[in-house]
Symmetry: C2
Subunit: 149 residues, 2 copies
DNA sequence: TATGTTTTCGTATGATATTCGAATATTTAT
DNA sequence: ATAAATATTCGAATATCATACGAAAACATA
């Protein structure tokens, strides 16, 4: 056994997919060359960043999902993007937003289980610059990435 | 002009893409037939829900992004999934989660601008069953759907 | 160790995207 | 308004690619 699956998941999480021209052509009843032209234009304009897979995250060992609200320390408060751009690197993090209101950053994180999340908090989130976090645990995901579950 | 673009965006938001076998094969240095077998298995198991595009949402007229924390009325509190499953239908909503803590539901919503969001709140969110909402506006998106921006 | 099942992977085939060029539509300049 | 430049549509030919198939290997089960 080669166990290619985790490698596939890792690739498809961010890309390595492509539009299915023939299905689109059938659906929209337009010539595929015209669609091709329009799609390439969207890609070149940067309107489309990538094509990727959406998973049933429970089935790929990432069933635990949380939102993390982050309060930055006074010295980091002025530049939330600095810490945000470090967090972005971690594969467990689905999204990072600088936000308004009572907190400075919002993360969406997926891990295997609560234990794995606790490790992640210890190793990644509990660092200088982050004063306090509030974790909102997802009990049930009804829709993600525009895809109904 | 046919203005196919909005139709394409609508389709690619949820699907109409497919794995790019040849690129994966080159990347992983594995025979494409073996990869094909493994990918089909993931799809049949339901581990992969769909393949879709990730956009630069500013460039497709959905630059305004917010997180909405929802407090349900006492009579709806026991079954947050009911209202959640109604919300799921709206194309502006990227994700819907039932959550723990001070609120019952968490939404991620994308609209053109603040005006469009206000309309959305009036028409969709301000309804019986939803007592109170707290909107956290995204000032800057650093990562979304596992894709760095 | 034998038997059934799953996984790998080459070959052949069918399906599909992409290129190209011409026609049409749209925008821009005068 | 008209012409010129540019952008978009789309059919035909080509090149690329995914998929079906079958054989061999790996793995699991008894």
């Amino acid at each position: 056994m080669k166990d290619i699956t985790p490698k596939l998941i890792s690739l498809f999480k961010k890309g390595y997919a492509t539009p299915q021209l023939s299905r689109v052509a059938k659906k929209l009843q337009e010539p595929s060359t015209t669609l091709h032209y329009n799609i390439k234009k969207l890609e070149q304009e940067g309107a489309i960043k990538t094509y990727k897979a959406v998973f049933d995250y429970k089935k790929i060992g990432e069933g635990y999902c949380v939102f993390v609200l982050i309060t930055l320390s006074p010295d980091e408060y002025g530049d939330p993007e600095r810490i945000g751009n470090e967090l972005v690197k971690h594969p467990e993090i689905e999204s990072v937003d600088v936000i308004t209101g009572d907190w400075e950053l919002m993360l969406k994180i997926r891990t295997k289980d609560q234990d794995a999340y606790y490790d992640f908090v210890k190793n990644v989130i509990s660092r200088k610059g982050i004063t306090k976090i509030k974790t909102l645990t997802s009990l049930k995901q009804l829709k993600t990435e525009f895809v109904e579950l």
